[in-house]
């Protein structure tokens, strides 16, 4: 099943005009290129090495708590990573299984080779998408219009080794850790973004900083050494088995490529006091750890962990790297000390007493562009046509990168094809939460998704990502195929019908007791209960109701689990709805980007003016969430959104009336999130 992607020669590209150029072939870049092409743009993906497209640079896994939600949403928008995960997964489990469906974390260990193969063959079979190997030397932009100082427009890129200029109307940069990247092992430092790859040219970061005047910051991350599997005594670690029935990430898949019984286990072990001793003894040999650049708080190096929480035992997961791989990935042991000391350190952990290191761990420091300079479409506010996604925006993680890549790619295509850019609200998706946090608050450390970041977590569940996003992705964005769209409509209608059927079952408590003798239904309740009410009971499953009322419910068995979740969460989602509507109204009120907040003739304090000028919120909603913005300031800002609102008003009123009519029509039936 391994398809070798063919190489397009650079010489064939000169003079060619692309709609979208994507720079980088990681999680952000591949999603961006595929999404741009799906929207209808002639797209070119440029990467240093074609065969590393889709490579998992760090951990061999996808999803998890918060991150799994992002994978489901990327899939709902027809992205690649969910289906790639289903193809490449070798150990599936739903994390947080006992904590409630809103915070379930679908996760899989991946076979690195299979993941890369899937992504590459998907991209090769994507119409309108071309891939080329090369290193981008320069971003081509227009001179700013004298009337708008500092505002540029992207015209294309120039490759290194030769003066080939390739023109495009939009460019998406997904350079990961390669922007002024440096690698650290022990006391040695070398330029680069990933071990084994050439550093990217200095020209690109020069253009961003000097030419476009973008503010950048520096972050760090790291990766653990890879361990030779045969050298580890796994009998000394705790066996951790996958779910016996793997759950696919993708809404289009009913099962995973890997058979349940073919899944591989993980192993759990713990650090010892010896580990802490080795870290302390080698601190002066460890450049990376001495730097004060901000690293991630939640995927910390072993050095950070033992220094911050001394005298404790820390978890280390030993994860498989693939079906045929003879390596193990020790999650939790990211380290940057010299290789001989890395070996000493891992040998302090019982199962690895005699372990051998295949590739040492290392640290990376890299530049990111302060993301408050981006619009919610992930476009650089001061440069028309330039989009950024992934670690370049200060995030960490495959899923965060994929989500941004998809959204930046779709918008880059829309912009190139002269369609308006689109935004996702934090009230409808984790992707919206991610992007809103980035562009309106910025980052001070690598940003990772958590479920606690989403205010409307009970509505933004992994199970309903398709209902929330697929119709919008088809109707408003254009990044969803009609096959997937039709499927989402079928699901939506079936769920709607099933909920209606459940509400139509309207019985007294005594009748319910007769129908479901095993369920403790309180007799004191003399009221009538619907099937939907019953389904909210802990001990009632949809299967039980369907066997009691086969004629009306058995046709919905396919959705048994989703219906149970819908029933339990419905009252809470209904409560959220009002607040969500309020926020969405305010997010629809956009603030012009060229306002001079200092000369605005309204009563705003200097402090408020400064905040607004620094952040330049795109919408009134974003302004409301900024720290230090008073209610009076928000009301005073209404003056300036009105202009943009007026134009839309008639259109919106019409839409609202239609929506109201629809609402009235289904007022008596349960409704699902749109």
């Amino acid at each position: 099943s391994h398809t070798k992607p063919h190489l397009v020669h650079v010489g064939h590209l000169t003079g060619h005009q692309y709609d979208v150029i994507v720079v980088g072939g990681g999680h952000a870049g591949t999603e961006a290129a595929a999404a741009a092409a799906r929207v209808g743009a002639e797209t070119l993906l440029i990467t240093q090495k074609i065969h590393t497209i889709g490579a998992l640079s760090c951990n061999p896994s996808l999803g998890g708590v918060g991150k799994g939600q992002l994978v489901k949403e990327v899939d709902a928008l027809d992205g690649l990573c969910g289906r790639a995960g289903d193809w490449a997964g070798i150990h599936f489990s739903i994390l947080n299984r006992r904590k409630g469906p809103a915070v379930w974390g679908p996760r899989a260990q991946l076979d690195r080779q299979r993941y890369r193969d899937f992504i590459q063959s998907e991209l090769l079979s994507t119409p309108r998408l071309t891939m080329v190997e090369g290193s981008v030397e320069e971003l081509l932009v227009t001179e700013p219009n004298p009337e708008e100082p500092g505002h540029h427009r992207v015209t294309g890129i120039r490759l290194a080794n030769g003066s080939h200029a390739i023109s495009a109307r939009s460019v998406v940069l997904t350079t990961g850790t390669f922007l002024s990247g440096s690698l650290f092992v022990g006391q040695t430092t070398s330029p680069g973004g990933r071990i084994g790859d050439a550093p990217s040219s200095a020209g690109l970061s020069h253009t961003l900083r000097e030419r476009l005047g973008l503010r950048t910051g520096r972050l760090r991350t790291g990766t653990p050494p890879r361990i030779v599997k045969d050298s580890v005594d796994l009998s000394l670690a705790k066996l951790h088995l996958p779910d016996s029935h793997p759950t696919p990430f993708s809404f289009l898949n009913t099962h995973t490529h890997c058979k349940p019984e073919e899944q591989l286990p993980c192993y759990l072990t713990f650090t010892t006091p010896g580990v802490e001793r080795v870290v302390r003894e080698s601190l002066q040999l460890n450049c990376h750890i001495q730097q004060d650049t901000k690293g991630p708080r939640y995927c910390p190096s072993i050095e950070s962990r033992v220094l911050r929480f001394p005298g404790r035992s820390h978890q280390v997961w030993l994860e498989p790297e693939g079906v045929t791989s003879d390596l193990l990935y020790p999650q939790g042991l990211s380290m940057t000390m010299p290789p001989d000391i890395q070996l000493r350190l891992i040998r302090e952990i019982p199962p690895m007493r005699r372990a051998e290191i295949h590739t040492p761990g290392y640290g990376v420091q890299y530049d990111f562009v302060c993301p408050t300079q981006l619009s919610p479409a992930l476009q650089v506010k001061s440069t028309q046509g330039l989009f950024l996604a992934g670690q370049i925006n200060g995030t960490t993680g495959y899923e965060e990168a994929a989500a941004q890549g998809l959204w930046a790619g779709a918008n880059a295509a829309r912009s190139a094809l002269s369609m308006p850019t689109v935004t996702l609200s934090r009230t409808e998706s984790y992707i919206g939460v991610l992007i809103d946090d980035l562009v309106s608050r910025g980052v001070t450390e690598p940003y990772r998704m958590f479920t606690s970041r989403a205010e409307f977590r009970t509505s933004l569940r992994p199970d309903n990502a398709d209902l929330r996003l697929t119709p919008k992705g088809f109707e408003e964005v254009g990044c969803v195929s009609s096959v997937r769209y039709q499927e989402s409509l079928r699901v939506r209608n079936s769920l709607q019908d099933a909920l209606t059927a459940l509400q139509a079952l309207f019985l007294s408590t005594s009748s319910w007791k007769k129908k479901l003798p095993s369920v403790p239904i309180s007799e004191t309740k003399s009221t009538l209960l619907t099937g939907l009410d019953l389904l909210q009971y802990n001990d009632v499953t949809f299967e039980m109701l369907a066997s009691a009322f086969p004629e009306s419910l058995s046709s919905f068995m396919e959705f048994a689990q989703r219906l149970k979740i819908e029933a339990v969460y419905k009252p809470h989602c209904d409560l959220n709805k009002k607040e969500i509507e309020r926020i969405q109204r305010e997010e629809n009120m956009s603030l012009p980007q060229d306002i001079d907040y200092f000369s605005l003739p309204v009563s705003l304090s200097d402090e408020v003016r400064e905040i607004l000028d620094r952040v330049r919120p795109s919408t009134l909603g974003a302004a409301t969430r900024l720290e230090g913005i008073t209610p009076a300031a928000v009301v005073n800002l209404l003056n300036y959104v009105r202009v943009t609102e007026k134009k839309k008003e008639t259109h919106r009123n019409q839409r609202q009336q239609e929506a109201q009519r629809d609402e009235e029509l289904c007022a008596n039936s349960a409704s699902l999130p749109q």
């Binding site: 469906p101 910390p300 950070s304 220094l307 009076a632 209404l638």
Partner: protein, 435 residues
Amino acid sequence: MAGFTQRLPPPRTALLRSITDPRSTEVLDRGLVLWFPAPRSFSGEDSVEFHIHGGPAVVTAVLQALGSVPGLRPAEAGEFTRRAFQAGKLGLTEVEGLGDLIHAETEAQRRQALRQMSGELGRLYQDWSDRLKRCLAHVEAFIDFSEDELIEDGVLNRVDVSVSDLQAEIERHLKDERRGERLRSGVQVVIAGATNAGKSSLLNKLCQRPAAIVSPIAGTTRDVVETALDLGGFPVLLSDTAGLRDSSDLVEREGVRRARERVEQADLTLVVVDSAHLPSEVDRAAAFLREHLRSVLPDTDRCLLVLNKADLLPEKQRQKLDTELRGVSGLPAVRLISCQTNEGLKAFLTVLHSSVKTLCGDPLFGAPTLTQARHRAHLQRCAAALAQYQRYRDTDLALAAEGVRLAVTSLGRITGRVGAEEILDIIFKDFCIGK
């Protein structure tokens, strides 16, 4: 409430109705009820107006009854305006005017909150808020991290105990007959100024009894002396404060600190100046007063300038100051009085009365009853949300956490907003996650 059990009155027609509490069915008041079906209302939505008698007890009772109706909550500052704007009901100038009103309202609320926050009540709310935030952080840590990291067993059990303690404490507080709250109602008028300007004499004059010790020795008043009085029908809480000066006396320094705190929380400040210290030329006198005000007050919006000891000035200068200082820009209302001879007192009382009346008559004035009713509604919501935690604790932690989140948000409306980042900070501080 009125109309819930009966048919709705015809739109836009004022009807006299009994207003009853839906829980106790007790009649709270008889008043006018008006309803405005959408879209012909201020905010373009269905609206109802209750015109009730203005006493604090009635207002509080009606607000509490409304707060107990599911789905109703107090509007946030500026919310009506925003909704009206969104419905296309407001023009540019109207928005501008309302922005200023909301500013005034939030200012009044801020002062009100400051007043309560610096007291015992404030410490109580802050303590609840801190404990709730910790509960939330621990539940969130358990949800977001317990699968990859070591979160000690028992984290949730400790949250269980905390949540049920908090719920019990808040419920007890809500039942507590609201003792002491009424004492706080009234316009807070603070007398401030340099030592020996005659502040205590003014207090005694105003309340017509010797509430404060008066002596010619500078620094006689060392603590805040409070008197409640009725000023032409309006409740006023008058405070006399220590004279503002640098002192080496520890007790007096504390008195000065308290005086400044009072001024900060005041609705109206009476700045008393010894007119014998004024330069005789009007321009220089005005400059002196402006300088003096700056040393006493952060802004001069809500203050009256009282030039005491007018009897010590020559007649000619007295008249000149009295007429010419009134029109000087950058100065608040100025009145010359003498607590010794009662000269000018009557005219001063008229000005004071009208200022207090404006403060009370302003519908947006942060009347303590309104603020307290708002607090009460938020606390009720907070307690109900904690019950949700208990209900879902064992079956669905996401829904249980939602209860704690709601509780934090409700309390945050009193003590200040709590963001996701703050919760994450507590998580990283308390757990062995990350560096």
